[in-house]
Structures are given as C-alpha cells and as structure tokens.
C-alpha cells in the first residue's frame, strides 16, 4: 500500500517537474525543476531497494551536476531569449510521435527473456551497499577503472575548453584597454 502511494505520488511529481524543465522559457526555472526532478527520481531508487544508487543520484546529480550547470550558466547570458521557431513543426512533431510510439512498443512488448537467470544475484542479508561494492570491485573492476579514467579526461577537457582565452582578466583592465582589446578581437574575427 505504502509503495503504491509513494510510486504514484513521485511519478506525478517527477513528470510535472520534467515537463516544466522541457517547456519553460526561463532557464533558471528549468534548472531548479530539473534538480527537483532528480531528487524525486532518487525516491524510486529507494523504493527499488537500490539504496546506494539513490544516494549516488542525490550526491552526484543534484550535488555535482546541477552545481556545475548553475556555475556554467554564469559564463553566458542564459536569460537571453533564443528564437525557437521550428521551420516545419508538423514534421518535427510527427517524427517525435513516431519515435515515441516505437519506444513505447519496444518497452510494452512482452519481455522476451522469461528464462533469465540472475548472473550476479542480490543477497538481501548483506544489504545493498555491500552487495554493490563486492560486485563492482570484482566483476566490474576494469569498467570501473575505465570510468575513472574517462571522468579524469572529461574533467581536464572541460577545464581546457572553458579556460581558453581566459588569460586576460577584464576586471583588471581600464575601459580604454577593454575597448582596444575588443576592437582587436573583432578585427581578428573578420579576417
């Protein structure tokens, strides 16, 4: 009973939050709604006995990813309006509808693997965190290491990409120097 109520409550909340994210025109609202939706998704992980995944969802997504987005939004004028006129809306909506329908059919079609045997079975007496740790550090050790290297490479790449042309600090220059610098930049762009 409790699980059913929790499932429907959090489903409605998540769907509403993500709809706000997708359809709003204010990027600050979109960011806040996305963060709230991520928190609500962690509730499903707790309902599904994936406690560690739920904690990771809260810490990584709402803690790290949303903070990174909020930080990144400071670098550009995120409130500037973007012209969102689609040239051929009927085609786009038709394509969205068809692909959505295909996805639904894929999911709703009867699950083929009725004779699936659990490769790494769950041990309820161990608790989820210990279970995950044992499987992650034995069977999935190499993918785990590769994911670590990938995160390192992504971090360095992000720093290099975002830090380009940051050797000049505008706040330490006078107005004339900034004007001269921008004129130089625009002359370089036109070349």
């Amino acid at each position: 009973m409790f699980e059913i109520i929790a499932f429907y409550l959090f489903s409605i909340l998540t769907i509403v939050m993500f709809c706000i994210t997708v359809f709003t025109n204010n990027s600050l609202y979109a960011l806040s709604a996305l963060a709230a939706g991520m928190i609500f998704i962690s509730a499903f992980f707790f309902l599904l006995d994936a406690d560690f995944l739920g904690a990771v969802q809260i810490v990584v997504y709402t803690g790290a990813v949303m903070a990174l987005y909020a930080f990144g939004m400071m670098f550009f004028d995120s409130l500037s309006t973007v012209k969102e006129k689609i040239k051929n809306p009927r085609l786009v909506f038709l394509l969205s509808g068809i692909s959505a329908l295909i996805i639904v059919i894929i999911f709703i079609s009867p699950i083929i693997g009725s004779n699936i045997v659990a490769q790494y079975p769950v041990h309820p007496e161990w608790g989820n965190t210990q279970d995950v740790g044992i499987v992650l550090f034995t069977k999935y050790l190499i993918p785990f290491e590769i994911a670590a290297v990938m995160l390192l490479v992504a971090m360095i790449g992000g720093i290099i990409l975002a830090g380009k042309k940051m050797d000049v600090s505008y706040s330490e220059l006078s107005e004339e120097e900034i004007d001269a610098l921008e004129k130089e930049d625009s002359a370089k762009d036109e070349k």
Partner: protein, 99 residues
C-alpha cells in the same frame, strides 16, 4: 508495483526528454533533456535489477551516471567556448561548419 509500471514511467520520462531534444533550440535545454533521458533509462535499469534479482542493472546505472557526469563537463566547456565565439546559445548557429 509491477515491473511494467516502472517501465512505463521510465518510457514516459524518456519521451519527455525526447520531446525536449527535438523541440527546443536552446543549447542549454538540449543538455537538460539529455539528462532527463539518461535518468529515465536509469529507472528502467534499477527496476529490472530489482524484479530479476540481478545486480547487473544497477551496475549499468552507475556507469550511466559516470557517463552523464563527464558529458556535462565536456558539454558545458564546449557550450562556454561556443558562447564566447558566437555570443549566442542558439542551436541553429551550429549549422555552419565554417569554424
């Protein structure tokens, strides 16, 4: 709750993300919609993991979280670079390959 209920929820969230990717022209919204789609898949993975008593689904969900995190780092860096170059976060400005 049955497995199908969780899979239907996952599908609905995935479709919301898909509509966002196809409809929005704001590059920031493209990243947000991608996050929604990745999260929708994670719910499906966790549900299958629970109802088949297998930990593989949760493991894949962890790796999806790692991939999403690195996607944000690289994507946001590229977005900042693009905004510095073009002064716009409109998806249509990406159509030219002139550099």
């Amino acid at each position: 709750m049955t497995l199908n209920a969780y899979l239907i929820l996952s599908t609905v969230l995935f479709v919301i993300g898909l509509v966002g990717v196809m409809r929005r022209k704001n590059l920031l919204m493209l990243f947000f919609s991608t996050e929604i789609m990745l999260n929708a898949v994670n719910i499906g993975m966790a549900a299958i993991s629970k109802f088949y008593g297998d930990l593989t689904g949760q493991m894949f969900a962890f790796f999806i979280v790692a991939i999403a995190a690195s996607e944000v780092a690289i994507g946001l860096g590229l977005l900042i670079l693009w905004f510095k170059k073009k002064n716009s976060i409109d998806l249509d400005t990406l159509q030219s390959m002139k550099g």
